[in-house]
Amino acid sequence: MATTAQYPAASVRVTRAWTWMRVRNLLARALAYTILSVGAFVVCVPWIWMVLTSLKTPGDILRIPLTVFPTNWMWKNYVDVFAVGSRPMWKYVANTLQIVVFAEIGVLLSNAIVAFSFARLRWRYRDVMFIVVLATMMLPAQVTMIPIFALFTNVLDWRNTYLPLTVPYFFGSAWAIFLLRQYMMTIPAELDDAARIDGCSTVQLFARIIVPLAAPVLAVLAIFTFNGVWNDFFGPLLYIEKVTMFTVAQWLAGFTIVTGPGQMPRYDLLMAASVLSSLPMAILFFIFQRQFIQGVVITGVKG
């Protein structure tokens, strides 16, 4: 009798505990969403401001107090920045794309070759050499940049050419070799043996089997290289002095159309240019989001 009487009370207690947990869970969840939303808004405000400003009139920019929205939505700003005037953006986009194309060829070719050797070939001192590769990743660029600058400008006279900005990409870089090698290691070794039995040479093994299978990681590398070249400011700053040869980053850094003598630059146009120059990466990110994040994670976590 006593035992049967206990049953309902116990189950009520359990249900109460359960509801309390659910309420607490719900509250925690609501708090999480609130923090995330507020954070997301704060994070996006500069972006939104950039876009809104790019659509304003010159008058809006100098008005105090500042208005959030443009009085007149100037979509024309984008056309003006991109195509009109003595220094339209498209010229600098074309310049930058030239560098991008050669950099991509260099990066993909050289790093794939080197990583292939580290991942799929067996030779003496391979693992020692790989440690050397990893060690060079730790060396900061600033101790090498002054002699490299002297080499490119004084010895080779490559100033005002794109050679200093592209040629180094043809020699591989430690983190890219690391990224590709880690990926190539995951391709089953049986494939190599099978290919060898079928009479594949090493070159054929590389070109016909490993490279196609490594396509996803090569895509990641290509995206990061694009990002690197597009954003590079230091390189062009050192080697390119001719305004007609500027990259987008340089052009944007020196954007000077001013409203009047000693006044504000045309921030409406400058922001339109900034939006445009951020667009390629934004689009690439939306298309290749998964690969992009993978790349950040692999190189971020593992080095």
Binding site: V43, W123, P140, F149, Q289, V297
Partner: protein, 318 residues
């Protein structure tokens, strides 16, 4: 007799296999030759040369002239070296830990079975993929004393915003800016959080642990290698900041890309000014080596201290 024939028969085969091995080694080295060449041309060679130049007076017109430790001694006397170093340390040591903390916090929240992870990831990562120069130009405008959005926003609360490009406020302004790219740190931390085996949490929950104790005893220890790695890399990167400082603080102009002045001067910008603006290559090389040593020492310190708080899975504690 039988043994002798066996060795005779084997000798050519051995030689053949040794040759094959040699070919294999050669092939391996051949495939890495682009990188080997690059390392000699762009890393080892330049490092040796810049080390030599750091003891010379070299302005690119005349050949380098040996001056011994003069450049290093001059650096001790140069007030801008001290100033730029202080600014650099101030920036790196506040922005990196703060960014790491925020990145981890956001990742922890997103990891709580929140819906639409990819949406949050994208939103938070957006500022990190803005073109670097565009980002600098945007902030240059936002921080403008009179027409900038920030001071106008503060004004609606009756606060008169400071001149963000004054000596007192310029580094805090850059620290604030750097926090907007916290998305990168969030993504890495999120991946780390998702790689923690759920069994660990299950086991701990069976043992009666919950909430904060799970965080303290499972999440943080498991995440410590990632936090540690981010700390080291973040500090190294922050010490070498250049572009945003250069673009934000220099005068706009197409042809004269003069480096910025003394306000908000950081080490790399001062290095640029010496080496590539005034062509004091010897002094610039000495500065580069000092920065290298500082980064090296700091990295070693972080590594040294790591054993006491970083936990690697599979490593036993004694």
């Amino acid at each position: 007799m039988a043994d002798a024939t066996a060795t005779i028969a084997m000798a050519p085969r051995l030689r053949a296999s040794a040759r094959k091995e040699l070919m294999r080694d050669l092939e391996g080295w051949l495939w890495i030759s682009p990188w080997l060449l690059g390392m000699l041309l762009f890393i080892i060679g330049p490092m040796i040369i810049s080390f030599y130049w750091s003891f010379t007076n070299y302005q690119m017109v005349l050949p380098p002239k040996w001056v011994g430790l003069r450049n290093y001694a001059d650096m001790l006397q140069d007030p801008l070296i001290a100033k730029s170093l202080i600014n650099t340390f101030y920036f790196a040591f506040v922005s990196v830990p703060l960014g790491l903390f925020l990145g981890l916090l956001l990742a922890l929240i997103v990891n709580q079975n929140v819906r639409g992870i990819s949406f949050w990831r994208t939103v938070y990562y957006l500022p990190a993929i803005t073109a670097v120069v565009a980002y600098a130009q945007l902030w240059r405008y936002i921080l403008h004393r009179e027409w900038g959005a920030l001071n106008n926003f503060l004004l609606t609360f009756g606060i008169i915003g400071p001149n963000w490009f004054s000596p007192k406020w310029v580094i805090p302004a850059f620290i604030m800016m750097s926090l907007w790219t916290v998305g990168g740190s969030m993504i890495i931390n999120l991946a780390g959080l998702q790689s923690i085996p759920t069994e660990m949490y299950d086991a701990a929950k069976v043992d009666g642990a919950a909430g904060f104790r799970l965080l303290r005893h499972i999440t943080l220890p498991m995440m410590s290698p990632i936090i540690f790695y981010n700390l080291v890399m973040g500090i190294i990167a922050a010490m070498q900041s250049f572009t945003s400082f250069f673009v934000l603080l220099s005068d706009l102009g197409y042809t004269i890309q003069a480096p910025p002045g003394e306000i908000g001067l950081i080490f790399m910008v001062y290095l640029y000014r010496n080496a590539f603006w005034e062509f004091r290559m010897g002094y610039g090389s000495a500065m580069a080596w000092v920065l290298f040593v500082i980064i090296l020492v700091m990295t070693l310190l972080v590594f040294r201290s790591s054993s006491s708080w970083v936990h690697y899975a599979g490593e036993s504690r004694s």
